[in-house]
Every structure is written in structure tokens, then in C-alpha cells.
Symmetry: C2
Subunit: 413 residues, 2 copies
């Protein structure tokens, strides 16, 4: 394709004035790549490869089994949990890093049903992220009539919460549309009916200024490999508000959630606090990479991070309106109602995205026709946004996406 | 401490004749360390650090989200599962690598209760590895009277299997004593009563010649970070015999266990085969290290591996009988009834082990008074065994373990 025009001076000025601009150099990003998929897999921090080399060669290779103590492997879930806690407005003792988002969802959905044995309904929205829906369905199959999954569309969801609702499971920022719930408002509406809320923060931790404490939140889970830059399939995290910790129990009782794991008792006795939601042996390599990713946020205010992300989204939208009229916005038009990704409909969305990726602009596709672009504030620049829209405009105008090779579906879309 | 005497010629000859001896150079082991704790955390293969550097820098850093397809991250659980399958006598399509041993235990214990809804008993032995016991207790707390955990001592366990037994959960090689069950015999005795057996292979995969297929085994789980050398907290594996796969369902329904994960359907539809036991996004860094560890077994017959391990144990026992009469063997005296670790009682076991570790001989301690030594056949030599016994004899004879600093308990024993 032809070279893009030079980035205009007013766009360059935005990057010059961006307080987060220096952070980009702390990530490995190949020249020629504009990465707008940090909402699916965050970019690689420069610190990660040397950190992992150290953990592998020195801690594992030389330290061997001794490193559980000498390098505090055993404390990694809580230590990293505390660092994530700061990013989501939680207390350090309310978060642990462990397992996958799906497994953590199961733990907390099941635990919440135990807190409200007389209430049967677990309420969520249709077209939520699949794993959030499937975990609830799996629990229903396991527990039978004690649990009844119920779906309500976002417009009427709040009014569907009733005296039989044990738990409301909501993804703070919708994985496709990018629509954002008001955490405090929905938590308060659920509490008014005596229900709890479990927030899936997969698309907001490390992106938005979340304040679980101020919202009176009950339970949350989130993903380590998106905006937290923990690497592919990184350990996830879970949050249990301090006030619930004494009464709530994990259904996945593993030795790491025991009050005294190395006493090797026959009887399970839950650890005090959120630690009881640990289960098996912590995944040290994954946790080390997650820790390096989370440390990219050290010293940053999440309000600054969110503000830049929203500004990147606004710029993309404004430029795309003029340059890419073929696209239909599928995300809310109002930035206050969105997370940090934008979603557009296009009948040839899959092929358009493949053509874009081949031109170095990496977003992703979600069925049936959604093109998704995420704007991770730590490494995406305003110039990236401008270049991305120009490239997209070129693909759309030239109909480059008509090339049949862009229609071959890969295993992972 | 004083230098050890030279390794006798007849011990050196054993190493010279050992077909597995060349493999030791494929592991990173510091000079001065004799590592007899591969049953807790396997040693670091030389291939692992460069493999992880490649996965991190090239696949994640440059490939970014594209590597789910281009580097087949998405196929890692099945690809590595198939490599593990060969080591345990399973078919390639009967094993996946995923999650932790504890989480996989939960999946399969819960799944087995679903297969036999009229049977309530889940039978295991007291003093089994804690997580195996706790997972069953947690399921009982979740499901109530549908599930009843029952304990029977090993001597009478087979006769305790009855028409109300849904599942027998046994650890093939006991984590402490090292006592070994006969997989084929116990499976057959359970089947005779219409019960299934779930084998925990944590201390046998990569150590013993296991043949799940020949034994008619139903279900199994195992650990990636012991004899499989997958690194601290490596992903675990699970096995479901092909004949059970169509009827059995996972209680942890995550998007990766869906028949079409990237269709983003609202309704859970289990993947065909063992894939339905996948749950969240696979942990790619952990799986890459596990794959490097499992590949250490390429081209090896497990019968050769087991034979060397048992020979190392016999040598240790024979030398220790003469040189360390202070120890009382807590493992079966007959090698055919043991795995690849030995356990000894000593009233000051904890302090003795600390003194040994300081002298470069790394084993571990399990309460109340058990010193454990594991003999991983891929990197432990006969000379190591001889030197370890000499060092142990020195510690015991000199009462070096009386030093108060060896009595300070660490978080992880």
C-alpha cells in the first residue's frame, strides 16, 4: 500500500503534551505495528523478559524448591493482588491473583449462592462475555433447582432485580460493544433488593478508574492479560469485600486456601480472609509476568490513564466519522458510557480486519460483524490513532478487503 | 563440613552404565547441589529459559494477539496433553494440560458424581494429599447430601467400595510415605462394584511406568511441576478415558470448553471429547515451560525411567541402613510397593533436613517428622545418592542439626 501522509502537527502536539507518552518506550512494540488490541492481549513490557529470565534461571534453576521461601513465591498471589487492588479501588487484603477469570467466576458465583440460600436467581444480561454466562449455566447444572440463571437486557436489568435474586453478574465494560455499567449505581440498586453484585472487570482493570470501595462493591473478578499486560493466559484476579470475607466460602477447596497449608491436615479449614479463594499451587511463571505487567502502573493515577484512553477513543471516532463513513458505530456514542474500546459494524468486518492487520494495524473481530479497536493508554499514541484511521480509510476506499485470502477464517478470531 | 570421601569405583560404574546418564547435562543444576526434591519441584531443563525467551519476545512481543493462531497457542492444552498421554499409557485425545491439579480434581470429582447420580459415596484414604481430601469436602459442602465423603485406610479400602460408591479417589504414589497403589487391581475392584476411580498421578507421571489404558482407568489428574519439570506451579493435566467422554460434563463451564469458543454463543454447548474440561484462557507461559519439561522424555521408555528411579532408591536405602541407623524407614521396604521417593522418620527431621540443605543436599520435610528424598531418574546420579548418604551420615553423627538456627520454621516446609 502507499505510504501514509505525515501525521499533522496538531496530532503530534497531543502526544507531546501526553503525560503518559514516555511509558510507550517501556513496551516492546515492533516498528510498523499499531497495536489496537491491548483489550484482548496487552503488549509486552520491556521488563518482562529479563524478569522471567531471572525467575527461571536464578529462582527456579539455582534456588530450586527453596525459592518458595527465599523468593517469596508463596506470597505472590497476595503481593500481586495488593498491587492490582490499588488500580480498582480495593484494599490490599481484598484481592488475590490466581487461576483464570473463568475459574474465579465459578468460585465467586457459587460462593454467593451460599451466602443467600433462600434466593435462587443469578441475574445477568444476554450476550454477556460467554464465559460469564457459561459458568452460571454450569453451576445450575451442578446444583439443580437451587440456582436459576436469568437474563435481562441492559435497559431493564436493574428493575429485574427482585427479592429472589441472589446475585447480579455484570461485566463492567462489555467485551464487544464497549458499553460501560455504572458500578456504584448498579451495586446500590442490587443492595436495595438485598442482592449482591459480582463485577467482571476484565475490560476495565488497568484501563478505567474503578473504585470498588466507594461503590460498596461485593465481589469482582478480572483478567490479567488485557490492560494489565500480564501475557497470554496470565493469572486472573478476584476481589471479595472485607465485610463478606468471614462468611463466604469457596467451592474450590484446595490446599492453598487452607488456614495452614503446610500442616497437611485431613480436614479443610478455610484461611482467614480472601486467601481462602486460593486453590492449587500458584503459577509462578505466570504470576511473575503478571507482576511485571501490573508494575507498569506504579505511580500512575488511574484517572489519568482513563482520561487518555477516552481521548484516544474520541479522536478515533472523530477522524473515522469523516474518513471511514462506511462504518457503523456499535459502541455508545457518549464516552461516559464506554470503556476504552470501540466497536464498529461492517458487513465485511472480518475481511476488513484481516486486511488491516496485514497493514500493521492490529484490532480484532467479534461475530457477527464487529470490528473492535482498543486504546491501551500506556502505549497507544495519538499518532497511532491518526495512522490507524488513515490505513482503515485506505482499506475501505480501495476495497482491499475483497481479496479472497482475507476471508479464510483462523481458529481464533 | 569436611570434604566427602571419593565416590567408590563401583558407584561410578553404575553411572557409567546408566543409559539415562547423558540427560543430566540437559538440566541446569548448580555444582555443589544434590537435588533430591524433584518430587516436589522438578529441576530446570536447559531448554526452558531459551524457549520462554522465544515465547515472550517473539511470540508475545512481536506476534502479539496473532500468535493464538500463528504459534498455535490455542492448541497448547491438547498438544501438550498428547505428549503427557504417552507417559501415562493414555491416548493422545484423552489428556489435556490445564489449570492446577486441585482445580482438575474438582472438575473430575464433580463430573463423576454426575455420572452416577444414585451413588453418594466418594471414597478415599485418610492422610491422602490434602488437596485431594479438601476438594471432596468442598464438593460435599456445595452439593449437600448428594455427596458423602468416606475415608478408609489403605488396608481395607478395596473392601469398603460398595454399591453406593460413586468414585474412589486415590493418589497413585502417596506424597509422604511413597506407598504405591496397583492401578489395574484397584480399578478392577472398583469396577466390580460399579464404581469409578480417579487417579492422582502427581507423584508418578514422569517417574513410573503408568499404563492407564491397560488398567482400564476412568479418570486421572496429575501435576506438571514435579517429575514433568514444568516449573513452579506449572499447569496440571487431566485424563478422561475415551469411553466416558461423551457422557461426562465439567462443572466448570468456561469458554475454552465450549464446542465453538469463538462463536460467542449465549448457550453453553460442551466441546466434544476431553476438550470440554478446558475452562478459561490457557496459561501460555506456564504451558510453554511445561512443554519443554515434558519434551525431556522424548524417546524414553517409561520402564527405563522407572527402573533407574527404583535402583536409585534401593541404593540410597542400602547405604543408609549402614551409614544412618538413626533413621526409621517410613516407606514400604519393598520397591514394588513404592514410587520414586523415600520417607524416613527422625524426631529432629525438620532440623536434620535444614542442616542437609545447607550442605547442598536438598530434600524436604513433611509433618510431623518425615524427611523425604526423591530420586528423579533424569538428573539424579548414583554418585549423588552416595554423596547424599555420606552427607546425611555426617549430619546425624555430628549432631550438626542441634544448631538452633535449623529449627526456625519457614513458611513453606
Amino acid at each position: 500500500m502507499s505510504a501514509l501522509p505525515a501525521v499533522p502537527a496538531h496530532i503530534q502536539a497531543l502526544d507531546r503534551d501526553d503525560p503518559l507518552a514516555p511509558l510507550r518506550a517501556a513496551f516492546c512494540l515492533d516498528p510498523g505495528v499499531i497495536y489496537l488490541d491491548g483489550n484482548s492481549l496487552g503488549a509486552l513490557p520491556r521488563a518482562t523478559a529479563p524478569r522471567l529470565a531471572e525467575v527461571i534461571s536464578r529462582e527456579w534453576g539455582s534456588g530450586l524448591v527453596r525459592s518458595w521461601n527465599t523468593h517469596d513465591w508463596i506470597g505472590a498471589p497476595q503481593r500481586i493482588g495488593a498491587k492490582i487492588a490499588r488500580l480498582i479501588g480495593a484494599r490490599p487484603n481484598e484481592v488475590v491473583a490466581a487461576d483464570s477469570t473463568s475459574v474465579n467466576l465459578f468460585k465467586l458465583v457459587a460462593a454467593a449462592t451460599g451466602l443467600a440460600p433462600t434466593r435462587r436467581i443469578i441475574l445477568t444480561e444476554p450476550a454477556n462475555f460467554p464465559t460469564d454466562l457459561y459458568v452460571i449455566q454450569g453451576l445450575r447444572d451442578l446444583l439443580g433447582s437451587r440456582v436459576e440463571p436469568r437474563l435481562a437486557p441492559p435497559e431493564t436489568l436493574a428493575s429485574a432485580i427482585d427479592e429472589d435474586t441472589a446475585l447480579v453478574v455484570l461485566t463492567h465494560v462489555h467485551y464487544a460493544a464497549g458499553r460501560r455499567w455504572d458500578v456504584a449505581e448498579m451495586t446500590s440498586r442490587a443492595h436495595a433488593k438485598g442482592a449482591l453484585v459480582l463485577w467482571d472487570l476484565s475490560h476495565s482493570a488497568g484501563a478505567l478508574s474503578v473504585d470498588l470501595g466507594a461503590a460498596g462493591a461485593d465481589l469482582a473478578v478480572g483478567c490479567g492479560y488485557k490492560y494489565l499486560n500480564g501475557g497470554p493466559g496470565a493469572p486472573a484476579f478476584l476481589f471479595v469485600a472485607e465485610r463478606h470475607q468471614a462468611a463466604i466460602g469457596s467451592p474450590l477447596c484446595g490446599w492453598m486456601g487452607h488456614a495452614a497449608p503446610f500442616a497437611f491436615d485431613d480436614d479443610y479449614r478455610p484461611a482467614p480472609g480472601v486467601d481462602r479463594f486460593l486453590c492449587g499451587t500458584p503459577s509462578i511463571l505466570g504470576l511473575a509476568a503478571l507482576e511485571a505487567g501490573v508494575e507498569m502502573f506504579e505511580g500512575l493515577e488511574m484517572a489519568t490513564v482513563e482520561a487518555k484512553g477516552l481521548a484516544l477513543c474520541r479522536l478515533f471516532l472523530r477522524l473515522a466519522e469523516t474518513r471511514c463513513p462506511q462504518l457503523r458505530l456499535a459502541s455508545p456514542a457518549d464516552g461516559a458510557e464506554r470503556g476504552l474500546h470501540l466497536c464498529f459494524r461492517h458487513d465485511d468486518g472480518y475481511a476488513v480486519m484481516q486486511a488491516l492487520i496485514e497493514r500493521g494495524v492490529i484490532g480484532d473481530f467479534r461475530p457477527p460483524d464487529l470490528m473492535r479497536f482498543g486504546f491501551a493508554p500506556l502505549y497507544v499514541s495519538y499518532a497511532d490513532v491518526w495512522n490507524a484511521v488513515e490505513t482503515l480509510a485506505g482499506v475501505l476506499t480501495s476495497r482491499a478487503f475483497d481479496d479472497p485470502r482475507y476471508r479464510e477464517r483462523a481458529a481464533v478470531t
